[in-house]
Symmetry: C2
Subunit: 423 residues, 2 copies
C-alpha cells in the first residue's frame, strides 16, 4: 500500500531541491524565492510533532491571538462620551457577507445594558384593542422567521461630507454589520394586540436610559420588521440588544431599537428627539429633510484599502468589497482603477439578498503603478451609487447623515493606500 | 408635541391596572397572570436609570453571561484522550442556519494546533507539471469564492446504532456545524500546478501531528472543494484549522482537513489509516463498506428536545429543527407528533441552499398530552430520511458511521423530553 504520509523529511527535501518553487497566485509572482531552502518545508515543525489543544480547552472559542487586530475600534475625539458613542466594524479584514457579532459595530446612546430574559418585558399599547405585556418566553411562542439584513448607522461616512478625513474603510464605512436574524414578525405581535383603524404609526423604544424612541409608519411595521431574538445562530449579544432588538430591513440603524421594551401604536408620528434634532439631513439652505429612513445603495472596496496595503508587488491582485441597498438587492458592482475613467463589472460572490450585504470580487493583474480605486453599486431599482461631489451639489457639506458617495482609494506604487478625493 | 417617552411611571401604572395582560403568544396562554402587578413594568428599573457599558468596553465581544450554558460540550467517556476526541455543537439552543465559530463542534486527532500565517505553507506535489509551495499570502492572490456548507462528522449519531443512549440533540446530532466560507477553489490551485492525465485522486493532509490524510477523487476535487481562509466573515478559528482548511461540501467531516499543508496528486487512492481502519461502515457480515463519503439527508428537532423541555404548558408551541443533505438541497421536512402515524409539512425558514443546513419551523397548538415527536427530511433527489430501524435492517448495529435515521423525542405531559425509540 502506498501511503505518502509515511514519507518523512528526507524524501521531501530531495523533492524540493529537485525543482519546487514558491508561487504567488500566478506566474508573475515571487517564483522560486525560497526554492528548496524553506525550513518550514524541509524540517519537521513543532506543531507537527506533538499534541495540540484538547477538545475541552475552549467551550466557547475566541479568535486566535494572531488576529487580535481584527476588532471593533472607536475614535475618541468623535464623541464626548464613550457611553453615547460608536465604534466601527473591522470590515477591512473581513470576507464573505456575515459579520461576526464579536466585532460588529456598536452605537449606544447611554451605554450597553445587561438585561436578562427573566427581567425582560415587552409592552404593546396605545391604539390597540388589547394592551399587552409579553415575557421573553411569550415571544418564543410566536412563529419564528429567519432573515439576513444589513444594519447601517445613518452617520456611516458622515465625516466624509467635508472631505476625506479618516484613514481606513473601518472608519469611513465601518458603521455597518450584516447578520442572519431569527425572531418573530412585528406584524404578528401587533395582530395579537389588535391595531385599531387609526393606528397609523408605531413608536418603538428600548429599555436603556436613553430609550432611543423612533416612529415607524404602520406600512413598514406590518411589512418586514422583525423582533430579533437570535443573530448568526445564537442569542443576541448584550451590546446588540440582548435579549430582543428590532430589525428594520433597509432602514437606518437608529430605528433598530435594542433591548426593545415598548411598541406604542399611534395615530401620528411621535417626532421624538431622535427623529427631529437627530437623524435628519441638513440642507444648504438651513432647512432639514426628515423621514429619510432608507439607506440608499452604496459600496466600498475593503481590500486593498488604507489598513490593507498591497505587500506583494505587481501581478495578480484580488480587489474585494461590500455593496448594499436599502431599496432591494444589488444587481451589479463596477470597479474602476483609473479614478472612474473606465469601469469593469465585479463578480458578486455568495448570497445576493435584498437589504443585505453583498460581497464582490474583482480579479486584476496589477502593473505596479498607482491607481485610483473605486467601486459603484447598482441596485435592482436601477439606482446607481453617486459620487460624493454629486451628493454635495444637492445636499451641501453641513450634513452628517446618509452619505452613500463613491469612496476613492489612492493606491501608490509602493502599495500603500490613502483615502482621497478626486476633483 | 406628543412624546410617550415623557410618560414616566405613574401613567404607566394607571394604564396597567386598567386592563393590561401578560399574553403568551396566543389566546390559550397565561393571560393576566401578572395583571397590573409586575414590578418590571410598574417600577423604573436600574438598567433604565443609569449608563451601561461604553463602546470601548469589548473590542471583541463574547456572549452575555446568561448564555454561558450555550457552549460546546464533550463526553469524557466517549474517547480515551481529549486530544483525539470530539465535542458537540449546542444545536438545541441555536436558531437560524449559521453556527457561530465559538461553539461549533471540534474533532481533533492530535489536538488543535497553533499555526501562524507567516509559518503556513501549502505544498502541491505528485503527478503535477509543476510541484509548488504556496504561502498564505500566495493563496490570497487566487480568485476568492463564498459558499455556505454543513460539516458533519461521519460518526454523528454513531452511539444511536445500538439504541437511544445520549440525552439531548447536542449529543446525538451535535457533531455538525454550518458556516459561510470564503476561500479559493482547490481546482484553481491544482490548475496552477498542472494536474497530469494520470492524476485521478488527490491526497490531502494537515499540518498537525496526526496529519489526518484522506483521498479524494479528482472529479470532486475539481468540482466544489474550497480551500477556506475565512468562516462566517472572519478568519478561521484555531480549532477549525486556522489559517486554512478544506471544505468538501456534502462529504463527511473527516475529509475537511484542517491546517491544510499538502495536496498530493496520485493515480490511485492512498488508502490511509483514516479511510481503511476508520470511516468505513461495518456491515452485519463483518465486511466493511468504504468510500461512503456523502452524508445522506437527515434532520433533527432541536426544540423541544431533552435539553429544552416545554415549560409553558399547553397552547401555542414552536417546534424547530435542522435538516440537511450531502446530495443537494432540502425540498421538504415533515413533522410528526404521534410517532409517525401522521406527518405535517414544516416551514423552511430562511436560506435553503444545497449541502447546507436548512432551518425548519412547525407551529402547533399543543394539547398538553404526551407526544412522540419526529422529523423527516426529503431532499431534491427525492430521497426520504429513513427510520433507524430501516437502516439497521441493512447495516446491522455494529456500525459507528453514517447514521441518518429519524430521531424520536418522547415529550411527556409535564413537558420533559426523552430520547427514545419506538418499536
Amino acid at each position: 500500500m502506498r501511503d505518502d504520509t509515511e514519507r518523512k523529511g528526507p524524501s521531501r527535501r530531495v523533492f524540493l531541491t529537485s525543482g519546487a518553487a514558491i508561487m504567488a497566485g500566478g506566474a508573475a509572482a515571487a517564483q522560486g524565492t525560497t526554492q528548496g531552502a524553506d525550513p518550514l518545508i524541509t524540517e519537521v515543525q513543532p506543531w507537527a510533532s506533538g499534541f495540540g489543544d484538547p477538545v475541552d480547552a475552549t467551550p466557547y472559542g475566541m479568535p486566535i491571538r494572531f488576529e487580535e487586530h481584527v476588532v471593533r475600534r472607536n475614535v475618541e475625539w468623535l464623541t464626548e462620551s464613550p457611553v453615547s458613542s460608536i465604534n466601527f466594524t473591522p470590515i477591512h479584514a473581513l470576507e464573505g457577507t456575515i459579520t461576526p457579532q464579536g466585532c460588529a459595530f456598536e452605537r449606544h446612546h447611554s451605554g450597553a445594558i445587561e438585561l436578562s430574559k427573566a427581567d425582560y418585558r415587552l409592552m404593546v399599547n396605545g391604539r390597540v384593542d388589547r394592551p399587552l405585556v409579553f415575557t421573553f418566553d411569550d415571544l418564543m411562542r410566536f412563529p419564528r422567521h429567519v432573515m439576513t439584513a444589513f444594519c447601517e448607522c445613518a452617520a456611516n461616512g458622515g465625516m466624509e461630507w467635508g472631505g476625506a478625513q479618516l484613514e481606513g474603510c473601518q472608519f469611513t464605512q465601518g458603521m455597518i454589520h450584516n447578520m442572519e436574524y431569527t425572531g418573530v414578525m412585528l406584524r404578528d405581535v401587533l395582530a395579537e394586540a389588535g391595531v385599531q383603524p387609526e393606528g397609523t404609526w408605531v413608536y418603538v423604544e428600548g429599555a436603556d436610559a436613553s430609550s432611543n424612541g423612533r416612529s415607524i409608519p404602520m406600512d413598514k411595521a406590518m411589512d418586514d420588521v422583525l423582533i430579533a431574538l437570535f443573530a448568526n445562530g445564537e442569542a443576541l449579544r448584550m451590546e446588540h440588544g440582548y435579549p430582543a432588538r428590532l430589525v428594520v430591513p433597509g432602514w437606518e440603524g437608529n430605528m433598530w431599537v435594542k433591548w426593545l421594551r415598548r411598541i406604542g401604536v399611534h395615530d401620528q408620528a411621535v417626532e421624538s428627539r431622535e427623529e427631529t434634532s437627530k437623524y435628519t439631513d441638513m440642507m444648504p439652505d438651513g432647512r432639514a429633510r426628515k423621514w429619510t429612513w432608507v439607506m440608499d445603495a452604496k459600496s466600498v472596496i475593503t481590500s486593498p484599502s488604507p489598513q490593507v496595503p498591497i505587500r506583494h508587488g505587481a501581478g495578480p491582485l484580488v480587489v474585494t468589497g461590500l455593496a448594499w441597498s436599502g431599496n432591494g438587492a444589488i444587481s451589479r458592482v463596477d470597479v474602476s482603477s483609473d479614478g472612474g475613467a473606465t469601469w469593469h463589472p465585479a463578480r458578486l460572490s455568495g448570497d445576493v439578498k435584498p437589504k443585505a450585504l453583498t460581497r464582490f470580487h474583482y480579479d486584476m493583474d496589477w502593473d505596479g503603478s498607482e491607481m485610483f480605486l473605486m467601486s459603484r453599486a447598482i441596485d435592482d431599482t436601477g439606482y446607481v451609487q453617486p459620487t460624493k461631489q454629486a451628493l454635495r451639489e444637492i445636499r451641501g457639506v453641513n450634513n452628517v447623515y446618509h452619505n452613500n458617495g463613491i469612496q476613492v482609494w489612492w493606491v501608490r506604487a509602493d502599495g500603500e493606500v490613502e483615502n482621497v478625493e478626486i476633483a
